[in-house]
């Protein structure tokens, strides 16, 4: 929870009237309704599933509504090794998500390529999508993921949401060009 100061509300002073900033109110609503999308690509996805289970219980923090469709979610959790072949797919799924949207790079592979220093693996998902939170670990334990998502909530509280609303598009989607893939 953010401090009282963030909301600018003190019950002793203001009683039943709450005076706050619009940004703060919007952010407060947003941060407790993060709908994550599991972009499960490798073993990190198993820990992600554990986070959703009753033992770790991600719903304590208001972000439990996992949706497997990018249209219905606003936080992509990239959990696993992103190959160059998959990079295109990750970016396209990211482009399909509605604003506002956030990306969590879960684990060493998604953050930096991890132990896969090879010709096939994208060296960090931040090369194709803007990442908000990086979580270390190989794979990170569910506690680490929950901590990362709480860090994301803190970050959401600091966003200039109202001025972002006036912008047409925070992260412009790529224009369709022809691909180099050769049909056989």
């Amino acid at each position: 929870m953010s401090t009282e100061a963030a909301y600018g509300y003190n019950s002793k002073v203001e009683g039943e009237v709450i005076v706050s900033k619009l940004d703060t109110v919007v952010n407060w609503i947003r941060k407790h309704s993060v709908w994550p999308m599991p972009m499960g690509l490798a073993c990190c996805a198993i820990e992600l599933m554990a986070s959703g289970g009753s033992r770790f219980d991600i719903s304590r923090f208001g972000m439990e509504v996992m949706r497997f469709s990018p249209r219905q979610s606003d936080c992509m959790i990239v959990s696993g090794t992103v190959t160059y072949k998959m990079a295109e797919v990750v970016r396209r799924i990211y482009d399909q998500m509605a604003e506002p949207k956030w990306v969590v790079a879960m684990g060493a592979c998604a953050s930096t390529g991890g132990m896969y220093r090879s010709y096939a693996v994208l060296q960090g998902v931040d090369r194709i999508v803007p990442v908000d939170v990086y979580i270390s670990g190989c794979p990170p334990r569910p506690e680490a993921l929950l901590d990362g998502l709480m860090k994301l909530q803190d970050q959401i509280m600091k966003e200039p949401s109202v001025s972002n609303l006036l912008k047409k598009d925070m992260h412009p989607a790529p224009k369709a060009l022809k691909t180099t893939a050769i049909a056989h």
Binding site: Y84, G114, M115, R117, Y119, A120, C138, T180, A183, H184
Partner: protein
Amino acid sequence: MSEDTFLQDLLKRFEYATERASLDDPAIQVPADKLVETCRVLRDDMGFDLLTDSTAIDWGEEASPRFTTIAHLFSTKNKEYVRIASDCIDDLEPTIPSLVPLFPIANWLERETYDMFGIRYEGHPDMRRILMWEGYPYYPLRKEFPLAGIETELPAADIAEVTQTKVIPAPMMGGPFHAPQTGEMSDREPRGADQSWNEQKEKPE
């Protein structure tokens, strides 16, 4: 039947076959144009009804013949393996007859070998890459290909333009990444043996 007599039996049955050094199961080398015929006899007459592996060897750029394909056959009845090796016909554009007509399971195995070594399988119904994307210009398991990779374009042009990203050689940083075996758990993230350079910082001479 002991393995030795089995091998002699094979060599007698296929007079074009030669013995191949092997530490475990009987292995023979056959010419490329006899590969399918050999495997058909092994499957239909000798009970080797399962293809367990199909792969290849790259002997290096100077060697000729450069590429050798390997097929492992297994008899589910007698619980025996046999290994069939065959040199590819050309060193620059290697080809070999496909085993898919005999063993449908060879389909993906041969696609993988094609993807990694660039060996074309003649008669394969679907000779496409399987691991790397179509249009990738290299064959990663060839001897001259570095593990870190070679700079090239991303498969999708629009994504490459927006993200300004390319396929880059991975910073190896002193070898395969692994977790240190000693120290605090919190300090044991996997890392390279040589942390003095990375993708931002040049490798010191």
